[in-house]
Symmetry: C2
Subunit: 160 residues, 2 copies
């Protein structure tokens, strides 16, 4: 008996979480195998800095939809590792201007091809069986349906 497969939608959340953790650990294994000192959790900040010369902590938290605290902690940790540097903005001292260090920039360039390969591998994975081809669309639809009408709301209408 497989607890998660048998219980269907009752454990949908847990199942998503488990799958996400599997992906995360696989991605980390890839970095390790290629001797790249990089962690999957650094991706969002690295990606943002690869597309924007400089970012603020607030910008990070807004873009990623995480708390300011989480963004702050990400930056602290990446700074300790020497990948990024941050200085107080000259025009607004509340802001911190976060940029890559030389080390961070180099690491980013080293990682870019892995991202490309990862993208391809994911596409291959999804296209491998007809049921999974539309997985991204299915997820988006779930997200949107949920945004339109929360689970809480739906249950309220069903429950006596």
């Amino acid at each position: 008996m497989n607890f998660y497969q048998d219980l269907g939608f009752l454990v949908f959340g847990s199942r998503l979480k488990r799958l996400s953790e599997l992906f995360l650990s696989d991605v980390n294994a890839i970095y390790k195998k290629h001797n790249i000192a990089f962690d999957a959790s650094w991706f969002p900040v690295f990606y943002l800095l690869s597309r924007n010369e400089q970012v603020s902590i607030r910008f990070i938290s807004n873009q990623l939809g995480v708390s300011h605290s989480a963004a702050s902690q990400m930056v602290s940790s990446l700074q300790e590792k020497g990948c990024i540097k941050s200085v107080v903005s000259k025009t607004d001292a509340r802001h911190k201007v976060v940029t890559f260090t030389a080390k961070g920039n180099k690491l980013q360039q080293k990682i870019e091809p892995v991202w490309t390969a990862l993208q391809q591998a994911m596409l291959q994975l999804a296209n491998e069986s007809p049921q999974s081809k539309q997985v991204l669309e299915a997820l988006t639809a779930m997200e949107n349906n949920l945004a339109n009408n929360s689970l809480l709301n739906r249950v309220e209408k069903i429950l006596p």
Copy 2:
């Protein structure tokens, strides 16, 4: 710009995690609204005990696919709350026999209809748009494809 929707498969893992957290918090909101002192994280143990008179910690960890430590901590926490009790097995002193207390049993009966409603609401949610109808099947397919050939393996074949 939506970081997660735009980046597609590159942030698939994070997206799954976020969705799972959304479900979890919605489910907890439901319990709260109905004044039921229950937390979504208790579900697995409660479910197992609703279908089995008694369980061991090892059984829990096996069924749920979590570490023994996690199962042990779940039991400790539920025991502190007075929902379950555990005694050392008479036939094998290594085992702990975990059962509902009267309080736990009562709580379980109170929750059962919420589970049914939740199941219905999820079905409704999934059936609301054609893209999400097969979301469970898509997820299962992803899980299986991944089990057959890990992401690590796939990336290795792509990367130079």
